[in-house]
């Protein structure tokens, strides 16, 4: 989510209507969390479970009618980060050695683990991005409160969402200020300045945090975040939740049969 802040609106598709978007936000969060946990906790190499989950995720993406191109673009960006971490799993020991060069070797186990983990990551990113693209952030935060997340935690998330763009702007302004005074002179100097900019940004963040807190206090904040009314569950919410649970159980159950 944070990767995309400042680039464009997060919830590009939240104004459209679809079956998915008629659900209460907390139902959507529950479904997504259930699915992500089920996908992530499935042991490596259980391809049949993932076939079941892939069908589920594909259905969800189709039902939510997100703009596929945007969805794929975001996932491409995120996978770029994830894959650098995942690459390490390729060189695991165990199984038959397929290829080796010096101490590096690719084994069947390594390939299996990499394939499993990549598929897990891809599926999880697909549903998480669908959730973020179809639900405005304030609704998500509300839903978290409805799901009994500690209000203070949600308040921290809310102000993070609000201030990250302010900080991005501030960093941009500092960068421009440096560039306008001919920063590009030499690389070593440039690195020093970037270091200083990051330091200045930290201090500014601290100062701003202090001022924001003062402004909150001056409007009667006592440390407890006030709650608004909760959105209600409807029949379709329950139906979708039951279906998700069934799908999760089916995916896990395939190997028990």
């Amino acid at each position: 989510m944070i990767l995309h802040v400042g680039a464009f609106h997060l919830d590009v598709d939240s104004q459209k209507t679809s079956v998915w978007r008629n659900l209460a936000p907390q139902t959507r969060i529950l479904c997504v969390v259930l699915l992500v946990f089920a996908i992530a906790l499935t042991p490596n190499g259980r391809w049949l479970s993932w076939i079941a989950y892939t069908i589920g995720v594909a259905l969800l993406v189709l039902l939510s009618r997100v703009t596929l191109l945007t969805l794929l673009k975001r996932i491409a960006v995120e996978l770029g980060f994830v894959s650098t971490v995942l690459l390490g799993t390729l060189f695991r020991q165990g199984g038959t050695v397929l290829w080796h060069w010096g101490w590096l070797s690719i084994t069947t186990t390594g390939l299996m683990v990499l394939g499993s983990v990549v598929w897990k990551a891809l599926l999880s990113l697909l549903i998480l991005n669908t959730l973020v693209m179809t639900t405005p952030i304030p609704h998500l935060l509300q839903a978290l409160i409805t799901l009994k997340t500690p209000p203070l935690l949600v308040a921290i998330l809310a102000s993070m969402y609000r201030y990250i763009s302010v900080l991005v702007d501030e960093a941009g302004a500092m960068q421009r200020a440096a560039a306008s005074r001919n920063l590009l002179a030499n690389p070593r100097w440039q690195r020093l300045v970037v270091g200083n900019t990051i330091g200045a940004l930290f201090i500014r963040t601290l100062d701003r945090g202090e001022r924001v807190h003062q402004a909150m206090l001056s409007r009667g904040f006592t440390g407890i975040v006030p709650l608004t009314e909760k959105p209600k569950y409807s029949r379709s919410d329950r139906l979708v939740l039951v279906l998700t649970c069934l799908l999760v159980l089916l995916g896990q159950g395939i190997y028990l049969l």
């Binding site: 935060l141 609000r162 302010v166 701003r208 001022r211 206090l217 001056s218 409007r219 006592t222 006030p226």
Partner: protein, 261 residues
């Protein structure tokens, strides 16, 4: 309305780094008065405003707001009584949407449901923001003037009896500044306005308090000080533009050709 909402006696404040921000401040503001608090940068204006709302507690001396002496036990009453509008609206508007931010204060007062809705709508109407258009708007996508108005609405929604504003016209374009002046003129509240904008002080406030290095050096009629450029200069201020212009009518301006265009 309380007859003398603000009374400050012998107030001192020293920051942790040793800077003496306020020195024996004595100030009393009767109900309904608009007071301009002017002074150079670092003269203690903001520090004084933070005391009115109990963000800073008196180290020495006393701040009395309505019948409450500002202390940790009276903070809730004090903060409901005095609304503080910060200089940078980005510091103040911290909720994701405008509606959530405007309702933040009244919700802290315990308002819910219909009453909360009414309060927030009245406050937004007071600063001419249409709730239908602005309620769901994202706070970060507003213009500077809009942000300022949202910040003021968030404070007005708490229905304070005293409004303390820190540099209200900083970062505003001339039209937004004009709208803000009209807004403040029509608010029937006691107002304390910290500002560098002496034209604004002249237009809005009958009384001016001049601060220099944490001390009050003038407290009296606004006209009394604005017409005294030598005094203003010793305290690092300048006469308002409306005083320093050598002509009164636009036809008397030195460059005629520009006007005839």
């Amino acid at each position: 309305m309380h007859h003398n909402p603000i009374f400050i006696h012998q107030l001192h404040h020293t920051y942790a780094d040793g800077t003496q921000a306020l020195r024996s401040i004595h100030l009393s503001v009767p109900a309904g008065e608009r007071v301009a608090l002017v002074g150079a940068n670092g003269s203690g204006k903001s520090t004084l405003l933070l005391h009115l709302n109990g963000i800073l507690l008196p180290q020495q001396g006393e701040v009395v707001v309505a019948e409450w002496s500002v202390s940790p036990n009276t903070l809730k009453q004090v903060r409901d009584f005095v609304g503080l509008v910060f200089q940078n609206p980005d510091d103040q508007i911290f909720m994701p949407t405008v509606w959530e931010d405007v309702t933040f204060g009244p919700m802290n007062q315990g308002l819910r449901g219909e009453a909360l809705h009414y309060r927030a709508q009245r406050a937004m109407a007071a600063v001419s923001l249409d709730p239908k258009l602005y309620a769901t708007r994202n706070a970060q996508n507003l213009s500077g003037g809009e942000k300022k108005r949202v910040a003021i609405a968030g404070v007005l929604a708490m229905q304070p009896q005293v409004l303390a504003l820190d540099e209200p016209t900083a970062q505003l374009d001339p039209r937004c500044r004009r709208q803000l002046i009209h807004l403040l003129q029509n608010l029937p509240l006691t107002q304390v306005i910290a500002t560098h904008d002496l034209d604004l002080a002249l237009e809005l406030c009958s009384r001016t308090v001049v601060l220099n290095r944490g001390e009050i050096v003038y407290d009296g009629a606004t006209e009394g000080v604005m017409g005294n450029p030598a005094f203003l200069e010793t305290h690092a201020l300048e006469s308002p533009l409306s005083y320093s212009r050598p002509y009164c009518q636009i036809e008397h301006a030195p460059v005629r050709s520009l006007i005839s265009l």
